[in-house]
Amino acid sequence: MKVRTARNQVEILAPAGSMESLMAALQAGADAVYFGVEHLNMRSRSSNRFVMDDLPGIIENCRAHNAKAYLTLNAVLYDQDLNLMRNICDQAKAAGVDAIIASDQAAMGYCHRIGMPVHISTQVNVSNIESVRFYSMFSEVMVLARELSLKQVEEIATQIEKQEIKGPSGNLVRLEVFAHGALCMAISGKCYLSLHSHNASANRGACFQNCRRKYHVKDAENGDEWMIEDEYIMSPKDLCTIDFLDKVLDSGVKVLKIEGRGRAPDYVHTVTRCYREAVEACFDGTYSQEKVAAWKEQLAKVYNRGFWDGYYLGRKLGEWTKDPNSQATQKKVYIGKGVRYFDRIGVAEFKMESYELKPGDEILITGKKTGVLESVVQELRVDGKPADSAKRGDSITIPLGRKIHSSDKLYKLVTTAE
């Protein structure tokens, strides 16, 4: 690997769509997290979207883990939204948010006025050095368009250094790219499909994901039907760059974004941890194909539509998913909820609500304070007595190395073939 960037300059930016995912990201070693509040961001339809009152709690958690917090405010804005936009920016600044990720010039302009750092969202589709120069008036971190090849990214990074393009704070502009997660068939996410079919604008964060369905394409004029084979022609596979992460870092990229504010905490935890390890490996010289294979195995366990390397290696469009559902090799089944934790003896109590549990089973616990905790059941007790299995309604205790909380959810991990 060429030494172009120091480890402490590289940031792994993980998604936090809920308090559980936020904790999962922080525990897995994210350098920064991004999240939205209220409805002016690209995941506005998320059922557990954060509200303004959540800001102090989010920031407190980030500070405790020495991570930065970025707030997404990247929906298309209309006049009616300007007050809320200003309100979000003001409150974000007061709460100590490190930057706002914006795509609308109204948000960029306002943040600039109040001295709030801005990151340019991928929605802006920054694809060349002159765009970088233009937006450097407002921002020193820019998410490049996902459609660029690594060569193009590298050229932009080189020119930023050569031409000394600096952001408002006087530092050189830093480039951010998407490293992992779902891709959209539309250029930089600017898609009209969902609005057309459900009046739900993707550009207001309400995407219905029509592209993930199966379609016949027929030319109505001559009746030709496209030969599509068995593919979902509008649904790209998920982006995965872990097997060429050294090249991504060589291109001069400083921030690696992981997509997935709509994903479960265990997904966030696994992906963040893998990329964190991969970045460390790139810098300490231990990045190897064996390690890549191990990370890919981990990544395949959580939600995915199959992987491809995006546009970075200059490959042509056409890596469509074969299946609309996740191709994860492992799934989690909800089996119960947390009751209490006995600190002194390191034992957790759960109430079983469905399915069954046996010693040797792999379990996953998620919660707002717990984040994500994976373990294997070593010893199982039902109502205080050793047992070979537990079923619905049972009160169970299992030894666990870390504290759990009463609202936590207990899952059993099973392979998807089961």
């Binding site: 209220e38 002016l40 209309y78 009616q80 007050n83 809320l84 936009m85 207001r204």
Partner: protein, 75 residues
């Protein structure tokens, strides 16, 4: 009379209701979400009883709401 129920916390401020039934829906300048005119708040929900003559535009509003947070009831 017809009843309109509006789950405001789900609103994403798309404006569809205000375009279809402007006599009953406005966009708030405060938070960018829709406001049900003469709606009475009960917890997170707003309710209004309106004349049947308003049925058509409000049904269009409900139908076009991407969050399905407007419910119309005929009494």
């Amino acid at each position: 009379m017809i009843g309109i129920t509006y789950y405001r916390h789900k609103c994403i401020g798309c404006r569809a209701c205000a375009e279809h039934a402007p006599q009953r829906w406005r966009m708030s300048k405060k938070d960018g979400k829709a406001v049900l005119l003469e709606g009475v708040q009960k917890g997170k929900v707003f309710n209004a009883e309106v004349h049947p003559g308003e049925l058509e535009p409000n049904e269009a509003a409900a139908q076009n709401c991407p969050e399905k947070c407007i419910i119309i009831r005929r009494h």
